[in-house]
Symmetry: C2
Subunit: 325 residues, 2 copies
DNA sequence: GAGTTTTTTACAAACGTTTGTATATTTGTG
DNA sequence: CACAAATATACAAACGTTTGTAAAAAACTC
């Protein structure tokens, strides 16, 4: 592999000049720079990032840490972020925490060890606060998205969870459902807390009143969603706003097993707008985020060194599962 | 950050001894090694991989390059590979080619620049041969999976595509379908060629004969699948073996739009066993791979430096879309 | 054209590790 | 105890960049 020393030798100049020339440093003469660039191309030179990173103490790597890549939301978020970051000259490393704190810590440490330029993260369910993130990453830029710790400084990109859940719940109310429960997520996670707040606000605004009994938390998977929905049905709920589509799917199965018709006897709205929500029968109403836009926004926040919180609107997709006539 | 020099200084020994001690080199005395390990832990030392990689000329990074992470198959494959590789002390970098040759080349170059220890790859649809892979990666170990170039040396892990497609087609035959077409993939890609071969073999074995007219290639997306299925229906097909579930979904919609009942009037089998195949109405029969196992197999092939081709059986999941009574 | 400023290049050290060779220490042998 | 062999550590160079400082070359100034 060609090195800058090879180029320097070939041109009778020093490696430092070559390095500066390739970096576009104004300290090298235009003519020299062109000669270097030509020779570099000729010799097929490619910068050794490992050496460069060692010397500079930081790399052009940005790590993206997500619970799982196969979720519609995270996959599309990654797409949006990759787009922006790679055209800005960064290399993106994708890490999965698999919802485990240990894996998340491992991934962050690896990124730190590789001197990542920064990290874009949506924390695992097991993470109760952001101390480990700050501790491991030190003063490296951290952009949080979707699941964020508000006390952790740095940029944040989130969906309008409260507003979205308000919309979803209000939609159920307008469809005439009376006893609306919620299959909620983990209260250690902001996003879920906000959705619960939106749900509550809608009920109160509509004069239906909020009843803690109809909140079934810690249910984001098919299994837990189904189990919680079973309880909700026993408790007499005639509609459910679910914090996730997998939980909503579980809820639909619970309803069917209880002999209820969807949406006539029970209305169901999920969250995330997974691909399959649209193709099931009945199709699943879902509160969608804009993952691609959020990915781009997070990447820009990183690039510009921004530090505030950006809120991206959510969008309710009304389908059959809540469309009572 | 603590370095080996800090540890050496603290213990009154040299960095080289510290390095060897931490690497478990038998040239250092047991007693010294223990002292070093203790001190290292005490000082919170973590090896600087960048420096280590520079000196060694290679890293502990393994790159996994896939068309897209959100496909059930690839996501689960990555899970299996990550499992094995990270317990073997490797760091995994996930790259998406988005089915584009350019992105694939870019990802491979980045991996090479970071001196990856090897790469596990399923090539993009745009890649017509493996020359770019070999050229960029040089003599680094390459493990191919699912979509492989047979002429590229190195380990390969593939599904039993021919056998699987044979099973799927034979299943349709046994269900009494007579004019079975196939929504096929790209013939530049081994996996799809093999599936076509299995389809053909089943028809011939059953004495139904193979008719090129009923092969509709280059259709792996919803849109292309739907379009091709439209033609197939016009051509009188009463069953379709589709090389992918997204294409199969398109085929189902084409059938519905043509006023056909599934599975009574037309039987449909997909490939990949996506999550949603099971939850639609009618549920979609699908030929599934074992992505997690394949990921583990690929990781082991890399670790052991194996070089042959491993074939993982496929499994037909019979559901409503092909279950004619 | 001597002195000053500005531009351009060279020199050298540094990033933190690994590893071949040399030296020091310990152990074993007669 | 002298000498050889084996073991353990130290020394120093190297990986390929980047970057502060010094030196050389060019461009001005009077």
């Amino acid at each position: 592999m060609t090195t800058i020393t090879d180029i320097a030798l070939a041109l009778g100049i020093t490696p430092s000049t070559v390095s500066r020339a390739l970096a576009g440093n104004p300290r090298v003469k235009e003519k020299t720079r062109l000669a270097v660039e030509k020779k570099a191309a000729e010799m097929g030179y490619e910068r050794n990032f490992v050496a460069s990173n060692l010397r500079k103490g930081r790399s052009n790597i940005v790590g993206i840490v997500v619970p799982r890549v196969r979720r519609e939301f995270f996959a599309n978020f990654i797409g949006g972020a990759e787009d922006v970051l790679s055209s800005a000259g960064y290399n993106v490393i994708i890490c999965q925490s698999q919802e485990s704190l240990d894996s998340e810590i491992k991934a962050l440490k690896a990124l730190k060890n590789y001197r990542a330029a920064g990290v874009i993260i949506s924390h695992s369910i097991e993470s109760k606060d952001g101390n480990h993130i700050r501790e491991i990453m030190g003063d490296l830029p951290i952009v949080q998205f979707d699941r964020v710790f508000p006390d952790l400084p740095g940029a944040k990109v989130v969906g309008a969870n409260c507003d979205g859940a308000y919309q979803a719940t209000m939609h159920l109310i307008k469809k005439g459902y009376k006893r609306i429960g919620t299959i909620a997520g983990y209260m250690s996670c902001m996003a879920f807390v906000e959705r619960l707040a939106g749900y509550r606000m809608a009920l109160e605004d509509a004069g239906l009143g909020f009843n803690k009994k109809y909140v079934y938390p810690d249910s984001i998977l098919y299994e837990t969603g189904k189990e919680s929905a079973g309880k909700a049905i026993a408790d007499g709920c005639d509609a459910l706003y679910c914090c996730g589509d997998y939980a909503a799917l579980g809820a639909m199965d619970a309803a069917r097993e209880a002999g209820l018709r969807i949406p006539e006897d029970i209305g169901i709205v999920g969250t995330a707008n997974e691909f399959w929500a649209d193709i099931m029968t009945p199709s699943l109403s879902s509160l969608g985020q804009h993952p691609f836009d959020m990915g781009q926004a997070a990447a820009h926040a990183f690039l510009d060194g921004r530090t505030g919180t950006e809120i991206i609107p959510m969008e309710l997709h009304v389908r059959q599962s809540s469309n009572k006539q």
